[in-house]
């Protein structure tokens, strides 16, 4: 029972502050997304939403001197968030019934979410099965891959049941094309799918799937996944249009035809096949055209992302210099007492142990 109590207490002590911090961070990014909807570009917004996903996997104890966790008004999102103590028994031997129920609910939800994710992946895998594409198409694909700087070109298949082109497979990606692809459509389609491969979007999506399994209850996890799925399509559109150069108009025509094919399709959309409504968004984004200064855009994206990561990702209160000194002193005090080189006494050892415990585990909630 003690082990279960410690396990459940640790689970809650980790998950609850993390969920609160991720919600706060996602709200901030959502606000920025709305503010930047006209002036922002897909790469920037994609980077911001990736940070939301990152917030879910970073420890809730993450602190930095630049972090918002040092602002008293924001410290509510810090480690000892109020949520932690609502139901928690923390390190007590027997977990409360409410906490056990919550843990069981979370576990059940995660199992269901995992099962659904696996089913989705299997369905997608089945949908992209098909015959190898003709040699001419393979050559075009290899040429497109070279233009995008890819060392290897994934194999091409023609999948009968597929309404649009997509790429599937983590370790060995396969580009699947629908049966009827017009000659002028092929290159734009391939450039778009190869852009996904170059950007490693499949890995990103797999990681986001795993995130949604663990945080199945958290709307911000699903929102981040959905928004990232939209944004990476826009990013790949930009890559494809840039690679097509003066023939960028053909890309818009390809998108329109893809939308026409998709209207009325009830089949599952595996991988990266965008729905018709999303294609409208993509067309609108393309209308705005690529930015004039890609280097400036890249630098701005890096700067904004770095700034947000430095300020808003670390939500726990950073240790001051005095805190760090005290933690160091506490460690050496215990070490010297244990090796017998000093006799600091019961009280100081006790306080030193408390100081170290405060750094390594969330404060035990008072029952």
């Amino acid at each position: 029972m003690t082990e279960l109590g410690a396990l459940v207490g640790g689970w809650w002590g980790w998950l609850a502050p993390l969920a609160v911090q991720a919600a706060a961070f996602a709200a901030l990014v959502l606000l920025l997304d709305r503010l930047l909807v006209r002036r922002g570009w897909p790469g920037l917004l994609h980077a911001l939403w990736l940070l939301v996903a990152l917030r879910f996997v970073l420890p809730p104890t993450l602190a930095a001197p630049t972090g918002l966790g040092n602002v008293p008004a924001v410290s509510v999102f810090a480690l000892a968030s109020p949520v932690t103590s609502i139901v928690a028994t923390g390190q007590s031997a027997a977990p409360s019934a409410a906490l056990l129920t919550l843990c069981a609910l979370w576990l059940g939800g995660a199992v269901v979410a995992a099962a659904l994710a696996v089913r989705g992946r299997l369905a997608a895998r089945a949908a992209v099965r098909g015959a190898p594409a003709p040699a001419g198409m393979q050559r075009t694909a290899a040429s497109c891959a070279r233009r995008l700087g890819l060392r290897r070109c994934p194999p091409l298949v023609i999948a009968r049941a597929l309404p649009g082109a997509c790429v599937h497979g983590l370790l060995r990606p396969v580009i699947a094309l629908p049966p009827r692809v017009a000659r002028d459509e092929l290159e734009p389609l391939l450039l778009h799918e190869l852009a996904h491969v170059r950007r490693r979007d499949l890995w990103c999506d797999a990681a986001l799937s795993a995130l949604c399994v663990v945080f199945w209850f958290h709307p911000a996890a699903w929102l981040a996944r959905a928004r990232l799925a939209q944004l990476r399509e826009l990013c790949c559109d930009e890559v494809a249009v840039s690679a097509l150069g003066p023939r960028a108009g053909a890309y818009r025509a390809t998108l329109l035809r893809a939308a026409a094919r998709l209207v009325g399709e009830a089949a599952p959309q595996p991988g990266f096949i965008a729905g018709p409504s999303q294609i409208v968004l993509r067309l609108r984004s393309l209308e705005r055209g690529p930015g004039r200064h890609p280097a400036l855009r890249a630098a701005t994206t890096a700067l904004v992302t770095l700034l947000l990561a430095a300020c808003a990702l670390p939500m726990a209160r950073a240790a001051s210099r005095a805190d760090a000194d005290a933690a160091g002193a506490a460690r050496s005090l215990i070490a010297s007492a244990l090796d017998g080189s000093s006799r600091p006494g019961c009280f100081r050892l006790h306080f030193a142990a408390m100081r170290i415990a405060a750094d390594t585990s969330p404060p035990a909630p008072i029952p």
Binding site: A80, A322, D323, D325, A326, G328, A329, A330, L333, I334, A337, L338, R343, P344, G345, C346, F347, R348, L349, H350, F351, A352, A353, M354, R355, A357, A358, D359, P363, A364, P365, I366
Partner: protein, 196 residues
């Protein structure tokens, strides 16, 4: 006949006097015992001295001996318990970055003629007891107790707790770990400032 009756009456009276005296002699220890018992149970002047603690206080704790002194703030509430026999402290705050709550019960043992205290808190599972008396000036209550240290296996190390009354609205508690040595024994200090 008259003589016999008189003798019997005198003997009877004598027996009554003897028995009464014997009874009175037997009852004296009981009454003395009862008196002592009552004195031991009834709060007295020493208990009235504890009134100095009663009230709401802000606390500032300073932990010493690990680099720079580590300061933290909290609150304490001292209230009477059981018709003036005991006082009880409820304290809360933060110690070494951890939330902290504690309780202490203090009183005066009339029989042993010592102040006694027992404390429990959220930092440990040990009941910490101490006992002692006021100094000559009656401005400092000096108590001694024992503590253990599970990390090193030390048991029953003596500490000294000094409650110093710096006026009606300020109490300073110093705790000295006497097992450390003769100098630099102060391990923490709590300054109580009365709520206005």
């Amino acid at each position: 006949m008259n003589r016999t009756r008189k003798t019997l009456t005198a003997a009877l009276l004598g027996a009554c006097v003897f028995l009464t005296c014997a009874f009175v002699q037997d009852g004296k220890p009981l009454a003395d015992g009862m008196k002592r018992w009552k004195e031991a149970c009834t709060p007295g002047a020493a208990h009235k001295d504890l009134a100095r603690f009663i009230g709401s206080w802000d606390t500032e704790t300073e932990i010493l001996g690990m680099g720079e002194p580590m300061k933290s703030k909290g609150t304490a509430e001292w209230t009477w318990l059981y018709e003036g026999r005991w006082i009880q402290q409820n304290v809360s705050g933060e110690v070494m970055g951890q939330p902290f709550q504690g309780q202490m019960i203090m009183g005066y043992d009339n029989f042993r003629q010592k102040y006694t205290a027992a404390a429990v808190d959220t930092m440990q599972t040990t009941l910490i007891t101490s006992e002692g008396n006021f100094d000559q000036s009656r401005q400092a209550l000096i108590m001694y107790g024992k503590v253990d240290e599970p990390m090193t296996g030390e048991i029953g190390k003596t500490f000294k707790s000094v409650w110093r009354f710096d006026g009606p609205d300020k109490i300073t508690r110093e705790v000295h770990d006497l097992a450390i040595g003769e100098t630099n024994t102060k391990v923490f200090e709590v300054v109580y400032t009365r709520h206005k």
